[in-house]
């Protein structure tokens, strides 16, 4: 009985691992494959020439650079706008507080497809079309939920006794925030920053509306790239697009696993 359970669990784990990692490996290995014929489980040979095809394309290099710039700036701007709000949501009681917290998210649930024309009109009216600022606004919109909810929960979780102790020791409110509250909330802010980075890194539809043809990013190029080239080349793109996110994951795996993300999604 015991061994049966063990075998079943191992089998489940194995299948789940294949289910999740399989498609990625299957796709990624094409980036190094010379040719791959059905129904072989192994390519005919390995090569790096697909990488050269990609790296030599100036559009791709620019798109990568733009993606990185927009994502970084988005995180900084989003933090500047949302962190004070997160603090307010956690520490101040004001009318409509919960409503506002929910609204931040609810509005995002409306499918974007119906909003393009109105958005385009708005951006033209504000002279934001084809500008860096316009693209950044679109990106920041997609990060607000992460940047507000997760840090707000973290600020709430900082024990009051610590802050009061610091205040009793004569620290001013900014000093208390800087040396007590902020450091304790930092892991959550880090998680929020990375979720925001990924959201920005992934944004395609709005970027195309506002940025194209001047500011193309990796995701806006992705559709053409996936279907336009042999599947080996799209595999290379896929790796390029996934590596930054995966790298960031390694950086914060402890915080994310530790429940910082989960905490943020419980509105109190």
């Amino acid at each position: 009985m015991r061994t049966l359970v063990k075998v079943l669990i191992s089998l489940f784990m194995f299948l789940l691992a294949v289910f999740i990692v399989g498609p990625l490996v299957w796709l990624a290995s094409r980036a190094f494959a010379a040719e791959w014929r059905y129904p072989d489980l192994w390519p005919t040979g390995f090569t790096l020439r697909w990488w050269r095809v990609v790296v030599d394309d100036p559009m791709v290099v620019v798109a990568l650079q733009n993606s990185a710039t927009f994502a970084s700036l988005t995180v900084l701007i989003s933090a500047a706008i949302c962190l004070p709000a997160a603090y307010a949501f956690s520490r101040y009681q004001f009318p409509g507080r919960r409503f506002m917290l929910v609204a931040l998210f609810a509005v995002n649930a409306f499918p974007k497809m119906g909003l393009f024309v109105a958005l385009a009109s708005l951006f033209y009216a504000l002279q934001l079309m084809q500008t860096v600022l316009g693209v950044l606004i679109v990106h920041v919109l997609g990060t607000v939920v992460f940047m507000t909810w997760i840090p707000a929960a973290a600020f709430s979780a900082v024990p009051r006794s610590l802050e009061e102790a610091a205040r009793d020791a004569g620290a001013g409110p900014f000093r208390v925030f800087w040396s007590v509250t902020l450091p304790m909330a930092l892991p959550a802010i880090l998680v929020a920053a990375i979720m925001s980075f990924i959201a920005s890194w992934d944004e395609a539809q709005g970027t195309y509306l506002v940025g194209a043809p001047d500011y193309m990013t990796m995701p806006t190029q992705m559709y053409s790239l996936v279907l336009n080239y042999p599947s080996q080349v799209s595999a290379v793109f896929s790796i390029l697009l996934s590596v930054p996110s995966a790298g960031l994951l390694l950086l914060v795996r402890k915080q994310i696993m530790g429940g910082q993300l989960a905490e943020g999604f419980q509105i109190k």
Partner: protein
């Protein structure tokens, strides 16, 4: 696991550190705020300051998402003038308002359309099935991590979070290739001379890809919820003779109820409005409403009908979100007040 010592007991409400009700003692102790009028005044100032600090992201969302949504809904009701005239200029099969408030013509057209009904059914089916599977897998992983622990459980959790960091376009593409006619699954079957199933471009493929993409968030929520159940409670249940299954169903799951509901609602909301996954992996028809919306918008040049569908999806998502809000407030009422 969590660095926060009392993560298990959610902090109730926003604890307002020196709002009168919350901290009368500290106010009295410092001796500066004994005058009730000054206390009230101070509370108002704090309330205003909170509102001010909280408003920038809200204003941003209101201007760049909320306002377009209002316009779009007005347009779906037949208000084709003003700011909507740009859209109305090129659209076909428009319903123009007949009453001061508009017309329900577009809604009537879409809601009675057979394809819409069929695709709505598919959308709901995919949402329900995917959410159920995601939740089941996430709970199994979370419980395994909580009850067995060890490196294998940790590794499994890490693996199940991997999809969170893969862009959706690539995820859909990878899943499609894996289950395509010349993909891994069929290659594997072919090795032993069998004809494997082809899931590429089927509703099954949509569900597989949705599960793949949604699993990480659900795992994180469930794991966090299940981790927070104190050892003492589990041990007590075990000591009183409850088996593994009973402990799970009568102690752990009820304790982790809120995070589980949150996992379910966010997964469902994400799936119900999705476009990329069904577009890449699904069949031409039937498909999910996200794809229909894009088709109505471009391929059939009927933005009004497209927006009607967006409203339907939005309403469905809102209904799901009500569950989320209810679960949250229930929990803060229980632990707080």
């Amino acid at each position: 696991m969590s660095s926060d010592p009392d993560a298990g007991a959610p902090v109730a409400g926003a604890v307002d550190d020196d709002a009168p009700a919350a901290a009368p003692t500290s106010a009295a102790a410092t001796g500066t705020l004994t005058n009730p009028r000054r206390v009230r005044h101070r509370a108002r100032v704090r309330s205003l300051r909170g509102l001010l600090m909280a408003s920038p992201p809200l204003l941003l969302i209101a201007a760049f998402t909320g306002f377009p949504i209002v316009l779009a809904i007005a347009y779906s009701l037949g208000h084709t003038g003003g700011l909507n005239s740009t859209t109305a200029l090129i659209a076909q099969h428009q319903h123009v308002k007949t009453e001061w408030w508009g017309t329900l013509g577009a809604y009537r057209e879409v809601l009675t359309n057979e394809r819409f009904q069929r695709d709505l059914r598919v959308t709901l089916l995919v949402t329900v099935v995917s959410t159920t599977v995601v939740l089941a897998l996430a709970l199994i992983i979370a419980l395994y991590l909580r009850l067995a622990g060890g490196w294998a459980a940790k590794a499994l959790t890490v693996v199940s979070v991997v999809p969170m960091f893969i862009p959706v376009v690539i995820a859909s593409w990878a899943v499609l290739m894996f289950y395509a006619p010349d993909g891994f699954l069929r290659s594997l079957f072919a090795q032993v001379g069998l004809e494997g199933p082809t899931f590429g471009y089927t509703v099954t493929a949509i569900i597989i890809a949705q599960v793949w993409c949604s699993l990480p968030f659900a795992v994180l929520m469930c794991a966090s919820g299940v981790q927070a159940v104190p050892d003492a409670l589990i041990d007590a249940a075990r000591d009183s003779g409850a088996g593994l299954v009973r402990t799970t169903f009568s102690v752990i799951l009820p304790m982790a109820f809120v995070p589980i509901v949150i996992a379910a609602t966010f997964t469902a909301i994400g799936i119900i409005g999705s476009f990329t996954v069904p577009y890449f992996t699904g069949p031409t028809a039937p498909t999910m409403l996200g794809v229909d919306m894009a088709n109505y918008f471009t391929a059939y040049n009927r933005p009004q009908q497209s927006i009607v569908m967006a409203v339907v999806v939005f309403v469905a998502a809102s209904l799901i979100a009500v569950t989320y809000v209810w679960a949250n407030f229930r929990s803060s009422k229980e632990s707080g007040a």
